[in-house]
């Protein structure tokens, strides 16, 4: 690798180059003092850019900045937001879909567990055992019928 090819690769973040490029650059740097010096310049410049912009921002009076932002947000934008604990729980579940999916499956899983339990204990109860398991809008019912257990999963709002 020559300096012209190495120069644009200098200052790459860890893992940013493909392994071949990284190996070639490493080998070049080991033997090329000017490119090592260029790399040192890049690192020095990074500090100056960050410090310079932060210093410049620190000099700016931002005491009314937040007021300006808040004034640009219409009051109606706050009124429509969900505020109650139930709404916040629903918003949380919307954002965590894995949890939401698990909660939706909970009635079916509970019904399956009950079915296995009844099967293991020999099903000596009444000829028709009805157990209802509900979670939010879903419900599952296990019917221990003469033809064997039957699991019904449906919408809990229908009053099954």
């Amino acid at each position: 690798m020559r300096c012209a090819g190495a120069a644009p690769l200098l200052g790459s973040l860890p893992g940013e180059l493909d392994p071949t490029e990284a190996a070639l650059l490493g080998a070049h740097l080991a033997t090329c003092e000017p490119c090592r010096a260029r790399l040192a310049d890049i690192e020095a410049l990074s500090g100056v850019v960050r410090d310079g912009l932060r210093d410049e921002a620190a000099r700016r009076d931002l005491s009314i900045f937040a007021d300006g932002v808040m004034a640009r947000i219409p009051a109606s934008a706050w009124q429509g937001a969900p505020a109650g604990p139930l709404e916040r729980l629903r918003a949380f579940l919307r954002r965590h879909r894995v949890l939401a999916a698990a909660s939706a499956l909970a009635p079916a899983l509970a019904a399956l567990a009950l079915y296995l339990y009844i099967g293991r204990t020999g099903g000596t109860g009444p000829s028709e055992l009805s157990v209802e398991v509900t979670s939010e809008d879903l419900a599952a019912i296990v019917l221990d019928t003469s033809d064997g257990p039957v699991i019904l999963v449906g919408d809990g709002s229908e009053g099954t």
């Binding site: 850019v49 960050r50 912009l53 410049e56």
Partner: protein, 213 residues
């Protein structure tokens, strides 16, 4: 610094995500606290890209307004800071394009002659060995905005997003809509130009021309 005081209704130790959650729930004070917490860094990034202080103010405010508009879509896989800075960069780059419609964003590369003016290592050596290193660094920092103003728009945006936000070549490529190789090349040229400018401001003598093989 003049940070507004935190409203008494908000505990001081709330994390960004907790404040986001409250803001989503309709709490304006929580959102205000997010603004106050991040405004200075957002302003620094915006200033670095658009280089004009008043424009940077407008860009920063617009970024926060957009953040509020899209709070419901924020996914917690990335940090709030990363998301906020992404939006800031997008707003700043859009403003650059609108402000200079007749100007090509892919300005020609820095001439070779400029690249050869400063010898490699001059800046690092001066900052690393000068007994008044802190003063020199302070002096260079004070003139940084001026130096950034000398760069073509796209070079400046690449350099600032790389140094302030640590964006990868891939992210810069996606954000700016240019190939990764072009990002790398322009970042190199932007750095060289900045080093030459800062060395000039600091009166650092270049001991000779850069060596290249």
């Amino acid at each position: 610094m003049n940070f507004p005081s935190v409203p008494p209704s908000l505990p001081m130790a709330l994390s960004d995500l907790e404040l986001v959650e409250r803001a989503r729930g309709g709490d304006p004070e929580a959102f205000r606290e997010l603004v106050v917490r991040h405004q200075r860094r957002v302003y620094a990034v915006a200033l670095g890209i658009v280089k004009d202080r008043d424009l940077a103010w407008d860009v920063s405010q617009e970024a926060f307004v957009r953040v509020h508009q899209h709070l419901a879509e924020f996914r917690e896989e990335s940090s709030f800071t990363t998301w906020l800075h992404r939006i800031t960069a997008r707003v700043a780059i859009d403003v650059l394009r609108k402000e200079r419609p007749g100007r090509r964003s892919d300005v020609a590369d820095v001439p070779e002659a400029v690249l050869q003016e400063a010898a490699p290592g001059v800046l690092a050596t001066a900052l690393g060995t000068n007994p008044q290193e802190t003063m020199l660094r302070h002096e260079l920092s004070a003139r940084l905005t001026e130096a950034l103003g000398e760069l073509p728009d796209l070079h400046r945006a690449i350099l600032v997003l790389r140094e302030m936000d640590g964006l990868s070549y891939e992210e810069l490529s996606l954000r700016l809509g240019i190939p990764k190789g072009t990002v790398m090349s322009r970042l190199f040229h932007a750095r060289k130009k900045m080093q030459a400018l800062l060395a000039g401001y600091a009166g650092i003598d270049a001991p000779g021309r850069g060596n290249a093989r």
